[in-house]
Subunit: 345 residues, 2 copies
């Protein structure tokens, strides 16, 4: 360890080289684990490295070699549970692989703004992971230049927005299908749906899973209510649905939405699950502790993030053991907010 105090510039490989009495190239070989270095020499170099507290300069490495061991995550949001968990999963495995993680937030879905963000991310070097659950993300994924290594975390793999690139996804369709079936199986005539904003013009995977379950059961298909991402949107949608006495079951695009719906029903004087059943999506940490606790579908966002990184890692290094389809299985969690419809209905 360097105890001399004068820690001016950090030591470079040439400093280490002179200290060990070898050439800088030999030092380079040692830190890269190159086989043909005489053990004696290696030890001398390692001693010098330790003595000078040498650390390989990541910037220089990136410049000289081209590879940068870095991922930039492009996302429209960092605070929502799902997004944050994906990010956490990415960071976790990136750290394990000693990759640096950068983030870029897509504040607006505006074409120019998105393009600028993608550019910035590209400038950072390394790989890219784009969370494409929303219009901004989808647009960003599409704006990534073809030569850049990128993995998309997408809502649904069908009809890729950005060509044939690697994606990961959760089976939202199946998840929505199961949740809807659960509600129907309790005896509800049909299930209403409060949607999160769709990432594209097309019908979202969640919506189509819900629709399929209704169709299979021969249940009437009400028009989905458009929500936003947060509880406020759910609240608005919930007030609207609460006015309709025929509504006895509501599936929500995510748990925050469900929270808002729960509140709206309470304000409208309709009890849950006595009058109306509510189910959410994601199993956010607080959902189990609501009153009533929320029936929801648990999605493994962290695992999704890990899978995304693994995929990117495979693309960036040929040590690629890419899991073919890293789809995690959604799990229905039944809690207090769902039950049979009221006797009269």
């Amino acid at each position: 360890m360097n105890v001399t105090g004068h820690t001016r510039r950090p030591a470079s490989i040439r400093d280490v080289a002179t200290a060990a009495g070898v050439s800088y190239q030999t030092v380079s070989r040692v830190i890269n684990g190159h086989p043909s270095v005489k053990p004696t020499t290696r030890d001398r170099v390692l001693a010098a490295i330790d003595e000078l507290g040498f650390r390989r300069n990541a910037t220089a490495l990136a410049l000289a070699s081209g590879r940068s061991r870095a991922v930039t995550v492009l996302t429209a949001n960092t605070t929502h549970y799902g997004y944050a968990s994906i990010l956490q999963g990415i960071e976790e495995s990136a750290r394990a692989a000693s990759y640096a993680v950068g983030i870029g937030v897509l504040e607006s879905a505006d074409e120019a703004a998105v393009a600028a963000e993608v550019q910035r991310a590209a400038d950072a070097g390394g790989g890219l992971i784009v969370i494409a659950y929303d219009p901004a993300g989808v647009r960003a994924l599409g704006a990534v230049p073809a030569e850049l290594p990128v993995v998309g975390v997408v809502e649904t793999p069908a009809s890729p927005p950005g060509g044939d690139r690697p994606w990961v996804w959760t089976d939202d369709r199946e998840a929505a299908y199961e949740a809807t079936r659960h509600l129907l199986s309790l005896g509800h005539e049909t299930v209403h749906y409060v949607a999160i904003p769709s990432s594209t013009r097309r019908t979202s995977a969640r919506t189509s899973g819900w629709r399929q379950a209704l169709k299979e059961a021969g249940a009437p298909e009400p028009r989905p209510v458009q929500g936003s991402w947060g509880p406020a949107g759910g609240h608005t949608a919930g007030l609207q649905l609460a006015r309709n006495p025929a509504v006895t079951a509501i599936l929500c695009g995510n748990d925050d939405l469900a929270l808002g719906v729960l509140r709206a029903l309470h304000e409208a004087g309709r009890s849950v699950p006595g009058d109306v059943s509510v189910a959410g999506f994601d199993d956010a940490p607080h959902s189990a502790f609501l009153t009533p606790s929320l029936t929801t579908v648990r999605l493994d966002f962290t695992g999704l993030g890990r899978a995304a990184f693994a995929l990117l890692h495979g693309v960036l290094e040929e040590a690629a053991q890419i899991a073919p389809h890293p789809v995690s299985v959604p799990e229905l969690v039944v809690r207090e907010s769902s039950g049979p419809p009221p006797a009269g209905a």
Copy 2:
């Protein structure tokens, strides 16, 4: 724009130079806005830049100049509301200043693990922002080498863990004080406290604000109940408090904790605010939509993040207009979960 298709290596300043018939240094001057370049020349260079689609290589810039326009945020968590919001605030202003944002998660508070993370962050170059609301963060802040530009987001500015470095903080003490006073003013004999884990051994700012309010009112000071960060911890603590019929008011270290407490009280058959009043901390997005909606203290985490970045920015560049004490003012938000104590009490 480059339309030739063959986008091999991106253009460098030397490519631009030959294209414009000048030396690379002149190109460098143009992209840096150096004054002494003849307008004619500048235009020629700009044309070449546009033609070749040149973008300055951030890595090379960092290596050659030393400055890297990057911040790394070190945090123990990315999913909790407060942390995520701070991160969002940082990213927001970093983007505005065209700084890259990196994140490093302190998964364990273990000394060696923390030191490793700090090292990694240091290797990334640029500045550092450490969120030091918890033991891992505090330890990380302490482990940052003196020569590294760093800003700490700390719980309380007194008795700095890392020497006399720049920090930002919110006035948690005042916030807790106000919340407690609010509950006392409703007529409660005293206020119980469910604490978030303290960042240090010492009494946290929130705890001491609560204590002060009690003392001033001459109210008895019950022992704080130790919670965790999430709803589960609040639930456990809440069940414990619910057993004590004397408890009529509970202040919680954050809204997630309060959520758990609310649930526990419900399970114990104690109504809120009829039997017990509950107040939280942070004003998370869902708190307004709980049933009952949560009385809490709103803290401007995003603003805190912005302030942290501004401070760091000032340290990194002498264009430093550092706001002296970027303390945002907490605001009490009274909702349904707090009210007068039951008549009999």
